[in-house]
Symmetry: C2
Subunit: 242 residues, 2 copies
């Protein structure tokens, strides 16, 4: 335990949605606690989820505690944290453009989740495999190129270095994470797709080389992708649609 100002609450064994917040905190070198990974931390997280804290309880992790404020929903946490961490544009319009892009990343992430859980969150993947194959097919054929093509154009339009504003923001970090997760889950499909998104590919490499991110990725704090997370490698879903 330490006296860090920021307390992140998220499932302790997956990257999941919490990773978008972890990356921003790590890039900025902010002192933070990843509470559910500390001894007794899961109990503290479950207590807040059950509404045993003061004020509005989160619907689901991740959530952030900062002083007396407790807020949930990944894009909301990042909209709040971005300016404090020096990872958001100064201009109001750009902040809303950044939030728009982050919400679109969140939509993409939700669709990735549904490739392995198209029927019900409460069932195992093994209980919805035929439906998952149908959904993954449609996702890789139509949705993935649509999302990544959109982000590639947004990046090009903003000059190619950052997706919004004049400097790196949490949205660039989020694109790095989304691309990395997609490459873990769908290596064959992404190898093909990536040739069409050269600017995003460069952005992904540049983010990985940022000092805070590089140190984080090399540390034990970075969990490995796994089949309990959002980005899951099920070879039968990684279709070669060429």
């Amino acid at each position: 335990m330490n006296n860090a100002a920021y307390e992140l609450y998220y499932w302790p064994s997956i990257q999941g949605r919490g990773e978008f917040v972890r990356l921003a905190l790590e890039d900025a070198g902010a002192a933070y606690r990843d509470v559910a990974r500390e001894p007794g931390g899961m109990k503290a997280m479950m207590s807040l989820l059950k509404g045993e804290g003061e004020g509005l309880a989160p619907f689901a992790p991740p959530f952030l505690k900062h002083g007396s404020l407790v807020i949930a929903q990944t894009p909301n946490i990042l909209f709040y944290l971005g300016p404090k961490l020096g990872l958001a544009p100064a201009d109001e319009g750009d902040r809303h453009r950044g939030n728009q892009l982050m919400l679109t990343v969140a939509d993409l992430v939700a669709e990735v989740h549904d490739t392995h859980h198209p029927v019900a969150n409460g069932l195992y993947y093994e209980d919805q495999k035929p439906e998952a194959l149908k959904r993954a097919t449609a996702f890789l054929k139509e949705r993935l190129p649509k999302f990544l093509g959109y982000f590639e154009r947004a990046l090009a339009q903003n000059g190619g270095e950052h997706v919004v504003g004049g400097a790196v923001s949490y949205v660039d970090l989020a694109l790095f994470q989304a691309l990395s997760g997609l490459e873990y889950a769908f290596p064959k499909a992404m190898a093909r797709t990536k040739t069409g998104i050269p600017r995003l590919a460069i952005l992904q490499s540049r983010v990985a080389e940022r000092p805070g991110i590089a140190a984080y990725l090399a540390s034990p704090r970075r969990l490995a992708f796994n089949e309990n997370g959002i980005f899951r490698r099920y070879p039968e879903l990684d279709l070669d649609l060429g």
Copy 2:
């Protein structure tokens, strides 16, 4: 055409996600254009979607044009508009709590959409009926009570009159819309569910009686729910799980 400051762009024949923005503008009595419902408006909308405007193009409707700013993603539009329309809390923490709740409404709406489109957005409902039945079953059994129970508790915790802050906000209007859509889509399931959410039921009635909303609902500007929108009445999906 008029000289209204706000220009909303959304599909002209459905309530859909655009309705959350329409309700806020109508409640506040703001002068606005619903551009795609004007002659030539669809062409203007498609042009902006194709990136033929200046700046970042939207990924999808709805989007809002205000002066030179064009922003998309429903919760983002409302986060921007809320304070300008007098429909957002003054306190920064409450604004982020409101945004958190609005993002959770958006998650609920996305799950409603997927009850009739669990496999692919690009296919018709008729092409995914068996999967839709499975997804709707899980939604009505597990997700709907979880979402509505959460909002009911949030409302109770904030005093029962408004879900966030000390006055009506766009989030209360969004809850009205979500409940109205759910009652259209799942009349049997909602009749049963509603007995467990008394505060939300009262909130829904109170919002419908607000002068701006009542006038709007009685006007031709309010489109009827229909089976091209997000909330669709397919009787075979309105399961009686009692």
